[in-house]
Symmetry: C2
Subunit: 388 residues, 2 copies
Amino acid sequence: MRKKILIGQAGGPTAVINASLAAFVEELSHLHHISYIVNGYEGLANNNIVNGTDALHDQIIQHRNVPGACLGSGRYPSDETAIKKSLKTIMDRNVDVLVMIGGNGTMAALAQIEQLARENKYKLQVIGIPKTVDNDLGGTDHAPGFASAASYVAQSCVDNSRDLMAMNNFEQVRIIETMGRNSGWLAAASGFFTQHVSEGPHYIGLPEKSFDLEEFLEVVKSSIDKYGYCLAVVSEGVRLPNGLSRSKEVNGREVLGGVAETLKCIIEEGMGVNVRAETLGINQRCLSLDSSSIDFQEAEQCGTFAAKLLQNNITGVMVSFSRGEDSLNYMNLIDVPLRDVLAAGERKLPDEFIKDLPKYYKWLSPLIAKNHMVYPTPIIKGDVYAET
Amino acid sequence: MRKKILIGQAGGPTAVINASLAAFVEELSHLHHISYIVNGYEGLANNNIVNGTDALHDQIIQHRNVPGACLGSGRYPSDETAIKKSLKTIMDRNVDVLVMIGGNGTMAALAQIEQLARENKYKLQVIGIPKTVDNDLGGTDHAPGFASAASYVAQSCVDNSRDLMAMNNFEQVRIIETMGRNSGWLAAASGFFTQHVSEGPHYIGLPEKSFDLEEFLEVVKSSIDKYGYCLAVVSEGVRLPNGLSRSKEVNGREVLGGVAETLKCIIEEGMGVNVRAETLGINQRCLSLDSSSIDFQEAEQCGTFAAKLLQNNITGVMVSFSRGEDSLNYMNLIDVPLRDVLAAGERKLPDEFIKDLPKYYKWLSPLIAKNHMVYPTPIIKGDVYAET
């Protein structure tokens, strides 16, 4: 049976989200009719759909390695009205299958649409393809997009460390702020490439832990004493005490950030040292230079696996990675019910990793290509030659 | 004759400054005695010198591809006292040759030390090796460090553009702030990888031009009308009118920045659109992922050429690139008198490039490796399918 498929991308783009789309299209465009949703759920609710021609399929496949979401993505509140309008688009167009590539919010909306279709006795197959840089998506070991972002964070930190140790007569503290929303996966990845203790990061602030200002200041002070500088990493989701937080709202969605800048002011006032606040910014989710090759492959595998689920008439599921029990390195592709994804909720960095970062880095290592050079021992420590 | 050499690194590090040092050491460590200055001019003034052993030479050579300045660098005001103390270090140690790797300030201090040595009838050979990410160093076509930074800026902009076009129902304007101090070379490089006019940057703010707020707002508005979003790039050195500038002083040195953040506030207040200010930050000068391979080679060539000048007893000069008259692609290594470097002053982006960016990109192209993928035509324009 030739199915009518609608596919879209939702939420913040990643460096590899187009790879999932391209692989899916390549697999199915000759078997079924695919139409594309412009700008994610907003386009679905507002019937902003583009008919898939051979030329368009080809153009999408050409976007395989391009960052950003080539169909348009964005944020859109999935309230009751939006869900109803989305189903109307689907029913008016006699759509058989809805496929969305996205994170937690995307999967929640997908489940609501499926539910409403069922209540309306409309037969709809729904499939979710995972995507997140924050790794906060439940129901899967990890999701495409995260590894590229984690690798970028880790490389930025070790390179910033080498820069900072050279500049410590001008700048003693550098605070690097990462993405991650309410989960610390990205911030904690900052030390992944560290080979020498003096490289740091000497402090990692995670949203999962309550922030202790005194402890933080103590680490900064002792690192300066020991190395001549301090490299600190904080997640955008760290909640500062006493209303110091600078998060704000844009279109009803909380936009995090400003933790590094706030801590910079606190340190400069209290310690009389120079501090730089560095926000790694959108490059974490879009810079194509560091897209992990494994991440790309996995993003493609997710698209291909979604095509297989579609062919097998599986519905109400998200594509998911399950790690082989016998080997950390072996990833199985499976499907998990959307209700399990939702039940899992926003995924946090587990305690076992927070307490044991090397254990986390072992978990992370099959996801990140080993293209990082091993840096030699630093030569200068503060203002003295560091004897090796 | 076996010479006593002192070598140091000064100013902000780059991704390739260690390559110049490594090449120099590799060339001469078996012929002369090399000692190393810790933390640039501060170390020279304060007699903070490390004796060069075979083990240390090897360790330095291992830093060839590592970002940061492995000897320690930093900022230090070269006032009369510092210059006198520097010469004292040199004379007390019977140093024959002083070699410094750095930018404008480094070369100025080098010339002052040479002058003072001459007044004291102390025979001192001085050689400068160029380094800058801002490309504001006079007396040379360009300097190592710049190409890697320019390439990073250009890649960040084209990737941010793909991200922004996917997010335009959430964020309509993104303002990217680059380094460059008072010169626009880095900011202007932002469009180097652009293949499609919709990618932008739709506006580039340069320190060489006076900032026209009305013109800027007009470009932002018309880009949003045309594409659904606007990607603007501003140099940290752009001077905003009416005291809006947010530059500040750290240790007597003006630290630029904050232009993007200020413009963000102005647009959000005036236009009712969402704006993100992105500062590309220290990764511009340290991220090893995008160090242009040509930049690395040139940094090494500068170190090797400095060794040759030393062997030939040339003094009072800086290593310099001169572009072949008959071919844009051919770079000659020459030496230029330090007084000519100083006379040239802070190097600005010339008018011919400001008025004709494609001409600038032609000039830039032999410095940047051609590893950028050609991105296909964007699929979505605002909220409609962009027919090709």
